[in-house]
Protein backbone atom coordinates (compact mmCIF):
# COMPACT_ATOMS: atom_id res chain seq x y z
CA UNK A 1 0.00 0.00 0.00
CA UNK A 2 1.47 3.31 -1.09
CA UNK A 3 1.24 6.15 1.39
CA UNK A 4 -0.05 9.11 -0.59
CA UNK A 5 -0.19 11.56 2.32
CA UNK A 6 1.91 14.69 2.24
CA UNK A 7 2.64 17.40 4.76
CA UNK A 8 2.83 21.13 4.13
CA UNK A 9 4.07 22.57 7.41
CA UNK A 10 1.48 21.68 10.02
CA UNK A 11 -1.11 20.58 7.46
CA UNK A 12 -1.48 16.98 6.34
CA UNK A 13 -3.22 16.23 3.04
CA UNK A 14 -4.52 12.77 2.03
CA UNK A 15 -2.76 13.13 -1.29
CA UNK A 16 -0.57 15.79 -2.90
CA UNK A 17 -3.12 17.06 -5.47
CA UNK A 18 -4.75 20.39 -4.78
CA UNK A 19 -6.90 22.23 -7.31
CA UNK A 20 -5.27 25.55 -8.26
CA UNK A 21 -6.95 28.90 -7.77
CA UNK A 22 -9.11 30.17 -10.62
CA UNK A 23 -9.35 26.81 -12.33
CA UNK A 24 -11.87 25.20 -10.02
CA UNK A 25 -14.28 28.01 -9.11
CA UNK A 26 -15.54 27.37 -5.58
CA UNK A 27 -15.94 23.67 -6.31
CA UNK A 28 -19.67 23.56 -6.97
CA UNK A 29 -19.56 22.92 -10.71
CA UNK A 30 -16.85 20.29 -10.32
CA UNK A 31 -18.83 18.42 -7.66
CA UNK A 32 -21.22 17.40 -10.42
CA UNK A 33 -18.41 15.45 -12.08
CA UNK A 34 -16.97 13.63 -9.04
CA UNK A 35 -16.81 13.74 -5.26
CA UNK A 36 -14.52 16.52 -4.17
CA UNK A 37 -13.24 14.54 -1.17
CA UNK A 38 -11.05 12.57 -3.56
CA UNK A 39 -8.69 15.53 -3.78
CA UNK A 40 -5.91 16.49 -1.41
CA UNK A 41 -7.42 19.95 -1.26
CA UNK A 42 -9.03 22.83 -3.12
CA UNK A 43 -7.72 26.36 -3.52
CA UNK A 44 -10.59 28.74 -4.27
CA UNK A 45 -10.81 31.39 -6.95
CA UNK A 46 -9.20 34.63 -5.75
CA UNK A 47 -11.44 36.53 -3.34
CA UNK A 48 -11.30 40.32 -2.96
CA UNK A 49 -12.91 42.63 -0.40
CA UNK A 50 -15.43 44.03 -2.86
CA UNK A 51 -17.22 42.14 -5.63
CA UNK A 52 -15.31 42.45 -8.91
CA UNK A 53 -16.76 42.04 -12.38
CA UNK A 54 -13.38 41.29 -13.96
CA UNK A 55 -12.01 42.28 -17.35
CA UNK A 56 -14.01 42.73 -20.57
CA UNK A 57 -13.88 39.85 -23.10
CA UNK A 58 -12.00 38.33 -24.86
CA UNK A 59 -10.41 36.94 -21.74
CA UNK A 60 -8.97 33.77 -23.25
CA UNK A 61 -6.53 33.00 -26.05
CA UNK A 62 -5.22 29.60 -26.96
CA UNK A 63 -1.54 29.15 -27.70
CA UNK A 64 0.93 26.35 -28.31
CA UNK A 65 1.32 24.40 -25.09
CA UNK A 66 -1.40 26.21 -23.23
CA UNK A 67 -3.53 29.29 -22.97
CA UNK A 68 -3.52 32.91 -21.93
CA UNK A 69 -6.15 34.28 -19.57
CA UNK A 70 -7.03 37.73 -18.31
CA UNK A 71 -10.12 37.05 -16.26
CA UNK A 72 -9.22 39.90 -13.92
CA UNK A 73 -10.19 38.35 -10.59
CA UNK A 74 -13.95 38.26 -11.21
CA UNK A 75 -15.46 37.15 -7.89
CA UNK A 76 -18.45 38.02 -5.72
CA UNK A 77 -16.40 39.53 -2.86
CA UNK A 78 -15.54 38.19 0.58
CA UNK A 79 -18.96 38.73 2.20
CA UNK A 80 -20.72 36.70 -0.46
CA UNK A 81 -18.01 34.03 -0.43
CA UNK A 82 -18.30 33.64 3.35
CA UNK A 83 -22.09 33.50 3.13
CA UNK A 84 -22.79 31.61 -0.10
CA UNK A 85 -19.71 29.58 -1.08
CA UNK A 86 -17.59 28.52 1.89
CA UNK A 87 -20.31 26.90 4.04
CA UNK A 88 -21.13 24.55 1.16
CA UNK A 89 -17.50 23.89 0.19
CA UNK A 90 -16.45 23.17 3.78
CA UNK A 91 -19.10 20.44 3.94
CA UNK A 92 -17.45 18.49 1.12
CA UNK A 93 -14.86 16.89 3.44
CA UNK A 94 -11.89 18.32 1.60
CA UNK A 95 -9.36 20.85 2.93
CA UNK A 96 -10.03 24.35 1.61
CA UNK A 97 -7.41 27.01 0.99
CA UNK A 98 -8.76 30.47 0.21
CA UNK A 99 -6.79 32.54 -2.30
CA UNK A 100 -7.07 36.24 -1.47
CA UNK A 101 -6.16 39.28 -3.58
CA UNK A 102 -6.01 42.96 -2.77
CA UNK A 103 -4.83 46.35 -3.94
CA UNK A 104 -2.65 47.06 -0.92
CA UNK A 105 -1.46 45.68 2.40
CA UNK A 106 -4.60 46.63 4.27
CA UNK A 107 -6.82 44.70 1.81
CA UNK A 108 -4.85 41.51 2.51
CA UNK A 109 -5.03 42.04 6.25
CA UNK A 110 -8.76 42.71 6.23
CA UNK A 111 -9.39 39.62 4.07
CA UNK A 112 -7.23 37.43 6.31
CA UNK A 113 -9.09 38.79 9.32
CA UNK A 114 -12.47 38.14 7.70
CA UNK A 115 -11.46 34.49 7.26
CA UNK A 116 -10.56 33.95 10.92
CA UNK A 117 -12.78 31.24 12.39
CA UNK A 118 -14.20 30.24 9.02
CA UNK A 119 -12.94 26.67 9.18
CA UNK A 120 -10.57 26.82 6.20
CA UNK A 121 -7.18 25.09 6.23
CA UNK A 122 -4.97 27.90 4.97
CA UNK A 123 -4.94 31.33 3.36
CA UNK A 124 -3.02 31.77 0.10
CA UNK A 125 -1.90 35.34 -0.50
CA UNK A 126 -2.18 36.01 -4.22
CA UNK A 127 0.82 38.31 -4.68
CA UNK A 128 1.07 37.25 -8.28
CA UNK A 129 -2.00 37.81 -10.50
CA UNK A 130 -0.70 39.60 -13.62
CA UNK A 131 -4.12 40.73 -14.87
CA UNK A 132 -5.04 43.59 -12.57
CA UNK A 133 -3.62 47.11 -12.40
CA UNK A 134 -2.92 47.41 -8.67
CA UNK A 135 -1.83 44.97 -5.99
CA UNK A 136 -1.08 41.30 -6.63
CA UNK A 137 1.90 41.04 -9.00
CA UNK A 138 2.92 44.66 -8.25
CA UNK A 139 3.37 43.60 -4.62
CA UNK A 140 4.81 40.21 -5.51
CA UNK A 141 7.67 41.73 -7.54
CA UNK A 142 9.05 43.68 -4.56
CA UNK A 143 10.71 41.66 -1.79
CA UNK A 144 10.07 44.38 0.81
CA UNK A 145 6.37 44.44 0.03
CA UNK A 146 6.12 40.64 0.03
CA UNK A 147 7.69 40.54 3.45
CA UNK A 148 5.51 43.34 4.84
CA UNK A 149 2.22 41.92 3.56
CA UNK A 150 3.10 38.43 4.73
CA UNK A 151 4.06 39.62 8.20
CA UNK A 152 0.91 41.72 8.56
CA UNK A 153 -1.32 38.79 7.53
CA UNK A 154 0.51 36.34 9.78
CA UNK A 155 -0.30 38.60 12.70
CA UNK A 156 -4.06 38.17 12.22
CA UNK A 157 -4.35 34.71 10.65
CA UNK A 158 -5.54 31.70 12.66
CA UNK A 159 -4.43 29.24 9.96
CA UNK A 160 -1.20 28.79 7.97
CA UNK A 161 -0.42 31.53 5.47
CA UNK A 162 0.87 30.53 2.04
CA UNK A 163 2.36 33.10 -0.31
CA UNK A 164 1.77 32.55 -4.01
CA UNK A 165 4.62 33.90 -6.10
CA UNK A 166 4.79 35.25 -9.63
CA UNK A 167 7.36 33.89 -12.10
CA UNK A 168 7.56 37.33 -13.74
CA UNK A 169 10.64 38.37 -11.77
CA UNK A 170 14.38 38.04 -12.32
CA UNK A 171 15.28 36.28 -9.07
CA UNK A 172 12.45 34.10 -7.80
CA UNK A 173 14.60 32.88 -4.90
CA UNK A 174 14.72 36.39 -3.44
CA UNK A 175 10.92 36.54 -3.46
CA UNK A 176 10.74 33.19 -1.69
CA UNK A 177 13.18 34.43 0.96
CA UNK A 178 11.13 37.58 1.47
CA UNK A 179 8.01 35.49 2.10
CA UNK A 180 9.93 33.32 4.54
CA UNK A 181 11.28 36.39 6.33
CA UNK A 182 7.70 37.66 6.66
CA UNK A 183 6.78 34.43 8.43
CA UNK A 184 5.03 32.54 5.62
CA UNK A 185 4.19 28.92 6.44
CA UNK A 186 4.69 27.89 2.81
CA UNK A 187 5.13 29.36 -0.63
CA UNK A 188 3.25 28.28 -3.72
CA UNK A 189 4.41 28.86 -7.28
CA UNK A 190 4.13 29.59 -10.11
CA UNK A 191 1.26 31.85 -11.04
CA UNK A 192 0.96 32.53 -14.78
CA UNK A 193 3.69 33.89 -17.04
CA UNK A 194 2.78 37.23 -18.59
CA UNK A 195 2.16 36.77 -22.32
CA UNK A 196 0.44 38.20 -25.38
CA UNK A 197 -1.19 37.10 -28.66
CA UNK A 198 -2.06 39.28 -31.68
CA UNK A 199 -4.74 38.67 -34.30
CA UNK A 200 -2.79 39.26 -37.52
CA UNK A 201 -5.92 40.22 -39.45
CA UNK A 202 -7.23 42.89 -37.10
CA UNK A 203 -3.76 43.77 -35.70
CA UNK A 204 -5.35 43.78 -32.28
CA UNK A 205 -4.26 41.73 -29.28
CA UNK A 206 -6.60 38.72 -28.99
CA UNK A 207 -7.17 39.51 -25.32
CA UNK A 208 -8.95 42.77 -24.55
CA UNK A 209 -6.58 43.35 -21.63
CA UNK A 210 -3.79 43.21 -24.28
CA UNK A 211 -1.74 40.84 -22.12
CA UNK A 212 -2.71 37.68 -20.28
CA UNK A 213 -1.23 34.97 -18.08
CA UNK A 214 0.23 31.90 -19.78
CA UNK A 215 -0.52 28.53 -18.21
CA UNK A 216 -0.66 24.88 -19.26
CA UNK A 217 1.87 22.19 -20.16
CA UNK A 218 4.17 24.70 -21.90
CA UNK A 219 5.05 26.41 -18.61
CA UNK A 220 5.99 23.18 -16.84
CA UNK A 221 9.80 23.33 -17.26
CA UNK A 222 9.89 26.95 -16.11
CA UNK A 223 7.74 26.14 -13.10
CA UNK A 224 9.86 23.11 -12.27
CA UNK A 225 13.08 25.10 -12.35
CA UNK A 226 11.59 27.83 -10.16
CA UNK A 227 10.20 25.34 -7.63
CA UNK A 228 13.63 23.75 -7.46
CA UNK A 229 15.35 27.10 -7.04
CA UNK A 230 12.96 28.23 -4.29
CA UNK A 231 13.13 24.95 -2.41
CA UNK A 232 16.89 25.47 -2.25
CA UNK A 233 16.49 29.08 -1.14
CA UNK A 234 14.10 28.58 1.80
CA UNK A 235 13.36 26.08 4.59
CA UNK A 236 9.57 26.45 4.46
CA UNK A 237 7.62 24.01 2.25
CA UNK A 238 7.00 24.75 -1.41
CA UNK A 239 3.74 23.94 -3.19
CA UNK A 240 4.55 23.31 -6.86
CA UNK A 241 2.22 24.71 -9.54
CA UNK A 242 2.45 25.08 -13.30
CA UNK A 243 1.76 22.88 -16.28
CA UNK A 244 1.11 19.63 -14.43
CA UNK A 245 -1.12 17.43 -16.59
CA UNK A 246 0.09 13.92 -15.76
CA UNK A 247 1.08 11.68 -12.85
CA UNK A 248 4.66 11.90 -14.14
CA UNK A 249 4.46 15.69 -13.86
CA UNK A 250 3.40 15.38 -10.23
CA UNK A 251 6.39 13.17 -9.44
CA UNK A 252 8.79 15.46 -11.27
CA UNK A 253 7.47 18.46 -9.33
CA UNK A 254 7.82 16.59 -6.03
CA UNK A 255 11.40 15.57 -6.90
CA UNK A 256 12.21 19.21 -7.70
CA UNK A 257 11.30 20.13 -4.14
CA UNK A 258 7.52 20.45 -3.88
CA UNK A 259 5.75 19.14 -0.78
CA UNK A 260 2.41 19.17 -2.61
CA UNK A 261 1.23 20.35 -6.02
CA UNK A 262 -1.64 22.29 -7.52
CA UNK A 263 -3.34 21.44 -10.80
CA UNK A 264 -4.77 24.31 -12.85
CA UNK A 265 -5.30 24.36 -16.59
CA UNK A 266 -5.58 20.56 -16.79
CA UNK A 267 -9.00 20.90 -15.09
CA UNK A 268 -10.21 23.16 -17.89
CA UNK A 269 -9.27 20.72 -20.61
CA UNK A 270 -10.62 17.61 -18.92
CA UNK A 271 -12.77 17.91 -15.80
CA UNK A 272 -11.60 14.43 -14.80
CA UNK A 273 -7.90 15.36 -15.01
CA UNK A 274 -7.32 15.26 -11.25
CA UNK A 275 -9.06 11.93 -10.53
CA UNK A 276 -7.29 10.44 -13.56
CA UNK A 277 -3.90 11.57 -12.25
CA UNK A 278 -4.78 10.23 -8.79
CA UNK A 279 -5.68 6.86 -10.30
CA UNK A 280 -2.36 6.71 -12.14
CA UNK A 281 -0.12 7.70 -9.22
CA UNK A 282 0.00 4.50 -7.12
CA UNK A 283 1.02 2.35 -10.09
CA UNK A 284 3.67 4.83 -11.12
CA UNK A 285 5.09 5.04 -7.59
CA UNK A 286 5.24 1.25 -7.42
CA UNK A 287 7.05 1.17 -10.74
CA UNK A 288 9.52 3.73 -9.38
CA UNK A 289 10.05 1.71 -6.21
CA UNK A 290 8.72 4.48 -3.97
CA UNK A 291 6.58 3.61 -0.95
CA UNK A 292 5.57 7.05 0.20
CA UNK A 293 4.73 10.11 -1.83
CA UNK A 294 6.23 12.45 0.77
CA UNK A 295 9.63 10.78 0.44
CA UNK A 296 9.97 12.15 -3.08
CA UNK A 297 10.06 15.80 -2.02
CA UNK A 298 13.37 17.30 -3.10
CA UNK A 299 14.84 13.91 -3.96
CA UNK A 300 16.29 15.09 -7.27
CA UNK A 301 20.04 14.54 -7.44
CA UNK A 302 21.42 17.45 -9.45
CA UNK A 303 24.58 16.90 -11.46
CA UNK A 304 27.56 18.37 -9.73
CA UNK A 305 29.75 20.78 -11.63
CA UNK A 306 32.58 18.93 -13.28
CA UNK A 307 30.86 15.56 -12.72
CA UNK A 308 31.31 12.94 -15.39
Amino acid sequence: MIDMRVRVGSLVFDNPLLAASGTYGFGREMSEFYRLDRLGGIVTKAVTREPRIGNPPHRIAETAGGMLNAVGLQNPGIDSVLRDELPWLLKQHVPVVVNIAGRDLSDYVVLTDNLVGSGISAVELNLSCPNVKTGCMAIGSEPDLIEAVTRACKRVADVPVWVKLTPNVTHIGDMAKAAEAGGADAISLINTLLGMRIDIRTRRPVIKNNTGGYSGPGVFPVALRMVHECSQAVRIPVVGIGGIHTAEGVIEMMLAGASAVQIGTANLIDPYAMPDILDALPGLLTELGAEAMAALTGAVQPWQEGAR
Partner: protein, 267 residues
Protein backbone atom coordinates in the same frame (compact mmCIF):
# COMPACT_ATOMS: atom_id res chain seq x y z
CA UNK B 1 -32.27 26.89 -14.46
CA UNK B 2 -32.01 23.14 -14.69
CA UNK B 3 -28.85 21.52 -13.39
CA UNK B 4 -26.36 20.65 -16.08
CA UNK B 5 -25.51 17.05 -16.51
CA UNK B 6 -21.78 16.62 -16.05
CA UNK B 7 -20.77 14.15 -18.63
CA UNK B 8 -17.84 12.88 -20.58
CA UNK B 9 -18.24 10.18 -23.16
CA UNK B 10 -16.39 8.74 -26.09
CA UNK B 11 -18.30 9.68 -29.21
CA UNK B 12 -17.89 7.89 -32.51
CA UNK B 13 -18.10 9.64 -35.83
CA UNK B 14 -20.80 8.01 -37.90
CA UNK B 15 -20.59 10.40 -40.82
CA UNK B 16 -19.73 13.84 -42.11
CA UNK B 17 -22.19 15.39 -44.53
CA UNK B 18 -20.72 18.37 -46.38
CA UNK B 19 -23.27 21.10 -47.10
CA UNK B 20 -20.84 23.21 -49.14
CA UNK B 21 -17.06 23.63 -49.21
CA UNK B 22 -16.92 25.07 -45.67
CA UNK B 23 -19.88 23.73 -43.71
CA UNK B 24 -20.71 20.20 -42.72
CA UNK B 25 -22.90 18.20 -40.38
CA UNK B 26 -20.84 16.01 -38.08
CA UNK B 27 -22.87 13.03 -36.92
CA UNK B 28 -21.82 11.40 -33.69
CA UNK B 29 -22.88 8.36 -31.76
CA UNK B 30 -23.04 9.74 -28.23
CA UNK B 31 -25.98 8.14 -26.40
CA UNK B 32 -25.81 10.09 -23.15
CA UNK B 33 -25.59 13.48 -24.83
CA UNK B 34 -28.36 12.46 -27.24
CA UNK B 35 -30.59 11.61 -24.31
CA UNK B 36 -29.91 14.77 -22.32
CA UNK B 37 -29.43 17.61 -24.82
CA UNK B 38 -31.97 20.42 -24.89
CA UNK B 39 -32.26 23.00 -27.68
CA UNK B 40 -29.70 25.78 -27.26
CA UNK B 41 -27.27 23.64 -25.29
CA UNK B 42 -23.81 22.86 -26.61
CA UNK B 43 -21.29 20.05 -26.47
CA UNK B 44 -17.51 20.33 -26.17
CA UNK B 45 -15.43 18.36 -28.65
CA UNK B 46 -11.76 17.61 -28.15
CA UNK B 47 -10.15 18.75 -31.36
CA UNK B 48 -6.58 17.63 -30.74
CA UNK B 49 -5.73 21.16 -29.58
CA UNK B 50 -5.45 22.33 -25.98
CA UNK B 51 -8.91 23.66 -25.37
CA UNK B 52 -12.15 21.91 -26.24
CA UNK B 53 -14.34 23.46 -28.94
CA UNK B 54 -17.99 24.29 -28.23
CA UNK B 55 -20.73 23.50 -30.77
CA UNK B 56 -24.46 23.96 -30.45
CA UNK B 57 -26.42 20.72 -30.72
CA UNK B 58 -28.08 20.78 -34.15
CA UNK B 59 -30.15 17.59 -33.91
CA UNK B 60 -30.56 14.60 -31.66
CA UNK B 61 -31.99 11.15 -32.07
CA UNK B 62 -32.15 9.75 -28.53
CA UNK B 63 -33.37 6.33 -29.66
CA UNK B 64 -30.45 5.90 -32.03
CA UNK B 65 -28.03 7.58 -29.60
CA UNK B 66 -27.12 10.19 -32.21
CA UNK B 67 -26.05 13.80 -31.87
CA UNK B 68 -25.46 16.04 -34.87
CA UNK B 69 -23.55 19.31 -34.83
CA UNK B 70 -23.13 21.71 -37.73
CA UNK B 71 -19.57 22.92 -38.11
CA UNK B 72 -18.06 25.69 -40.18
CA UNK B 73 -14.39 25.21 -40.88
CA UNK B 74 -12.69 28.34 -39.58
CA UNK B 75 -9.43 27.21 -38.00
CA UNK B 76 -7.31 24.32 -36.76
CA UNK B 77 -9.86 22.81 -34.40
CA UNK B 78 -12.82 22.83 -36.75
CA UNK B 79 -10.53 21.70 -39.57
CA UNK B 80 -9.34 18.72 -37.53
CA UNK B 81 -12.89 17.73 -36.58
CA UNK B 82 -14.03 17.78 -40.18
CA UNK B 83 -11.03 15.67 -41.23
CA UNK B 84 -12.09 12.82 -38.93
CA UNK B 85 -12.72 9.45 -40.52
CA UNK B 86 -15.93 7.57 -40.05
CA UNK B 87 -15.61 5.45 -36.90
CA UNK B 88 -13.06 7.74 -35.22
CA UNK B 89 -13.45 8.12 -31.48
CA UNK B 90 -13.41 11.60 -29.95
CA UNK B 91 -13.98 12.92 -26.48
CA UNK B 92 -17.28 14.68 -25.96
CA UNK B 93 -18.24 16.66 -22.87
CA UNK B 94 -21.73 17.89 -22.19
CA UNK B 95 -24.38 18.85 -23.05
CA UNK B 96 -23.81 22.07 -21.14
CA UNK B 97 -25.38 25.47 -20.79
CA UNK B 98 -28.73 27.07 -20.36
CA UNK B 99 -30.76 26.50 -23.51
CA UNK B 100 -33.86 28.12 -25.01
CA UNK B 101 -36.95 28.20 -22.80
CA UNK B 102 -39.74 26.23 -24.40
CA UNK B 103 -42.57 26.98 -22.01
CA UNK B 104 -45.08 29.79 -22.34
CA UNK B 105 -44.75 30.18 -26.06
CA UNK B 106 -47.25 29.33 -28.77
CA UNK B 107 -45.82 31.33 -31.66
CA UNK B 108 -42.09 31.36 -32.35
CA UNK B 109 -40.03 33.46 -34.72
CA UNK B 110 -36.73 31.65 -35.15
CA UNK B 111 -33.98 33.80 -36.66
CA UNK B 112 -30.48 32.69 -37.58
CA UNK B 113 -27.29 33.73 -39.31
CA UNK B 114 -23.82 32.23 -39.76
CA UNK B 115 -23.13 29.10 -37.73
CA UNK B 116 -26.04 30.20 -35.52
CA UNK B 117 -28.46 28.47 -37.85
CA UNK B 118 -27.35 24.97 -36.82
CA UNK B 119 -28.69 24.86 -33.24
CA UNK B 120 -31.93 26.46 -34.41
CA UNK B 121 -32.78 23.33 -36.35
CA UNK B 122 -32.96 21.37 -33.09
CA UNK B 123 -35.04 24.14 -31.52
CA UNK B 124 -37.53 24.11 -34.41
CA UNK B 125 -37.95 20.33 -34.18
CA UNK B 126 -38.75 20.50 -30.50
CA UNK B 127 -41.04 23.55 -30.76
CA UNK B 128 -42.91 21.79 -33.55
CA UNK B 129 -43.34 18.63 -31.51
CA UNK B 130 -44.85 20.76 -28.76
CA UNK B 131 -47.40 22.27 -31.10
CA UNK B 132 -45.88 25.74 -31.27
CA UNK B 133 -46.38 27.71 -34.51
CA UNK B 134 -42.94 28.21 -36.02
CA UNK B 135 -41.82 30.89 -38.44
CA UNK B 136 -38.16 30.80 -39.38
CA UNK B 137 -35.78 33.07 -41.25
CA UNK B 138 -32.08 32.69 -41.94
CA UNK B 139 -29.77 35.30 -43.40
CA UNK B 140 -26.90 34.68 -45.82
CA UNK B 141 -24.71 37.01 -47.81
CA UNK B 142 -25.47 35.28 -51.12
CA UNK B 143 -27.92 32.61 -52.24
CA UNK B 144 -24.98 30.29 -52.98
CA UNK B 145 -24.09 30.43 -49.29
CA UNK B 146 -27.60 29.49 -48.14
CA UNK B 147 -27.69 26.24 -46.18
CA UNK B 148 -30.29 23.74 -45.01
CA UNK B 149 -33.21 25.56 -46.65
CA UNK B 150 -35.24 22.38 -47.04
CA UNK B 151 -34.51 21.18 -43.52
CA UNK B 152 -35.76 24.49 -42.16
CA UNK B 153 -38.85 24.49 -44.37
CA UNK B 154 -39.74 21.01 -43.16
CA UNK B 155 -40.04 22.14 -39.54
CA UNK B 156 -41.53 25.62 -40.06
CA UNK B 157 -45.01 26.85 -40.82
CA UNK B 158 -43.22 29.36 -43.00
CA UNK B 159 -39.52 29.67 -43.77
CA UNK B 160 -37.75 32.56 -45.52
CA UNK B 161 -34.18 32.83 -46.76
CA UNK B 162 -32.80 36.36 -46.72
CA UNK B 163 -29.84 37.25 -48.95
CA UNK B 164 -28.02 40.52 -48.85
CA UNK B 165 -27.11 40.22 -52.51
CA UNK B 166 -30.69 39.41 -53.53
CA UNK B 167 -32.15 36.21 -54.95
CA UNK B 168 -33.55 34.91 -51.67
CA UNK B 169 -37.15 35.04 -50.49
CA UNK B 170 -36.25 38.38 -48.96
CA UNK B 171 -33.55 40.86 -49.95
CA UNK B 172 -31.55 41.92 -46.94
CA UNK B 173 -30.61 40.43 -43.61
CA UNK B 174 -32.13 37.92 -41.23
CA UNK B 175 -33.95 40.80 -39.53
CA UNK B 176 -35.64 41.64 -42.82
CA UNK B 177 -36.85 38.04 -42.89
CA UNK B 178 -38.16 38.46 -39.34
CA UNK B 179 -39.94 41.63 -40.37
CA UNK B 180 -41.58 39.94 -43.36
CA UNK B 181 -42.67 36.93 -41.30
CA UNK B 182 -44.08 39.12 -38.56
CA UNK B 183 -45.98 41.21 -41.08
CA UNK B 184 -47.69 38.07 -42.27
CA UNK B 185 -48.39 36.41 -38.93
CA UNK B 186 -48.26 39.00 -36.17
CA UNK B 187 -48.38 38.08 -32.54
CA UNK B 188 -50.19 36.29 -29.77
CA UNK B 189 -49.66 37.04 -26.07
CA UNK B 190 -47.19 34.20 -26.05
CA UNK B 191 -45.00 35.11 -28.99
CA UNK B 192 -41.25 34.92 -28.71
CA UNK B 193 -38.28 35.50 -30.98
CA UNK B 194 -35.41 33.00 -30.78
CA UNK B 195 -32.15 34.16 -32.32
CA UNK B 196 -28.70 32.71 -32.83
CA UNK B 197 -25.99 34.26 -34.96
CA UNK B 198 -23.22 36.83 -35.11
CA UNK B 199 -23.35 39.79 -32.72
CA UNK B 200 -24.38 42.39 -35.34
CA UNK B 201 -27.38 40.20 -36.20
CA UNK B 202 -28.32 39.71 -32.55
CA UNK B 203 -28.01 43.45 -31.99
CA UNK B 204 -30.35 44.13 -34.91
CA UNK B 205 -32.81 41.50 -33.67
CA UNK B 206 -32.80 43.14 -30.24
CA UNK B 207 -33.49 46.55 -31.76
CA UNK B 208 -36.33 45.14 -33.84
CA UNK B 209 -37.81 43.43 -30.79
CA UNK B 210 -37.57 46.64 -28.80
CA UNK B 211 -39.45 48.52 -31.50
CA UNK B 212 -42.13 45.84 -31.71
CA UNK B 213 -42.13 45.08 -27.98
CA UNK B 214 -41.58 41.36 -28.47
CA UNK B 215 -39.76 39.01 -26.09
CA UNK B 216 -36.57 37.43 -27.41
CA UNK B 217 -33.94 34.94 -26.40
CA UNK B 218 -30.52 35.29 -27.99
CA UNK B 219 -27.80 32.68 -28.11
CA UNK B 220 -24.20 33.93 -27.87
CA UNK B 221 -20.79 32.58 -28.79
CA UNK B 222 -17.98 33.56 -26.41
CA UNK B 223 -14.38 32.36 -26.35
CA UNK B 224 -14.37 29.59 -23.82
CA UNK B 225 -11.72 28.22 -21.53
CA UNK B 226 -13.37 25.27 -19.84
CA UNK B 227 -16.98 25.34 -21.08
CA UNK B 228 -18.41 24.12 -17.77
CA UNK B 229 -18.28 27.05 -15.40
CA UNK B 230 -14.96 27.01 -13.57
CA UNK B 231 -12.68 29.54 -15.30
CA UNK B 232 -14.85 32.62 -15.98
CA UNK B 233 -13.23 32.98 -19.38
CA UNK B 234 -16.47 33.17 -21.35
CA UNK B 235 -17.78 36.53 -20.17
CA UNK B 236 -20.99 37.94 -21.67
CA UNK B 237 -21.84 41.50 -20.58
CA UNK B 238 -25.16 41.70 -18.74
CA UNK B 239 -27.01 44.26 -16.67
CA UNK B 240 -27.75 43.41 -13.04
CA UNK B 241 -29.82 46.05 -11.26
CA UNK B 242 -28.68 48.50 -13.92
CA UNK B 243 -24.97 47.82 -13.40
CA UNK B 244 -22.59 46.04 -15.78
CA UNK B 245 -21.64 42.50 -14.83
CA UNK B 246 -20.34 39.48 -16.70
CA UNK B 247 -22.24 36.21 -16.82
CA UNK B 248 -20.76 32.93 -18.03
CA UNK B 249 -21.70 32.03 -21.59
CA UNK B 250 -21.26 28.36 -20.67
CA UNK B 251 -23.50 28.27 -17.57
CA UNK B 252 -25.93 31.20 -17.45
CA UNK B 253 -25.81 31.16 -21.28
CA UNK B 254 -25.34 30.59 -24.13
CA UNK B 255 -29.01 31.64 -24.37
CA UNK B 256 -29.93 34.91 -22.67
CA UNK B 257 -33.10 36.97 -22.44
CA UNK B 258 -32.38 39.98 -24.65
CA UNK B 259 -33.33 42.36 -21.80
CA UNK B 260 -30.49 41.02 -19.65
CA UNK B 261 -27.74 41.80 -22.18
CA UNK B 262 -25.64 44.97 -21.85
CA UNK B 263 -25.79 45.64 -25.59
CA UNK B 264 -23.57 48.76 -25.44
CA UNK B 265 -20.80 46.76 -23.77
CA UNK B 266 -20.91 44.04 -26.41
CA UNK B 267 -18.18 44.14 -29.05
Amino acid sequence: MTMNARLKETAHVTGIEWLDSENALLRLNAPEAARLAQPGQFVLLAAGQMLNRPFGVALTDPDAGMVTVGIKKVGIGTGALLDLEQGSAIRLLGPFGHGFSLDNVNRAYVIGGGTGIFPLLFLLHVLRSRGVETFAGCGFRTLQQALLQEDFSDVSDQYLTACESGGGDVSGTAVDALDALYLGHGRTERTRVFACGPIPMLRAVNRWCETHDVAAECSFEARMGCGFGICRGCAVPVLKAGALDYDRCCVEGPVFDRRLIAWEALS
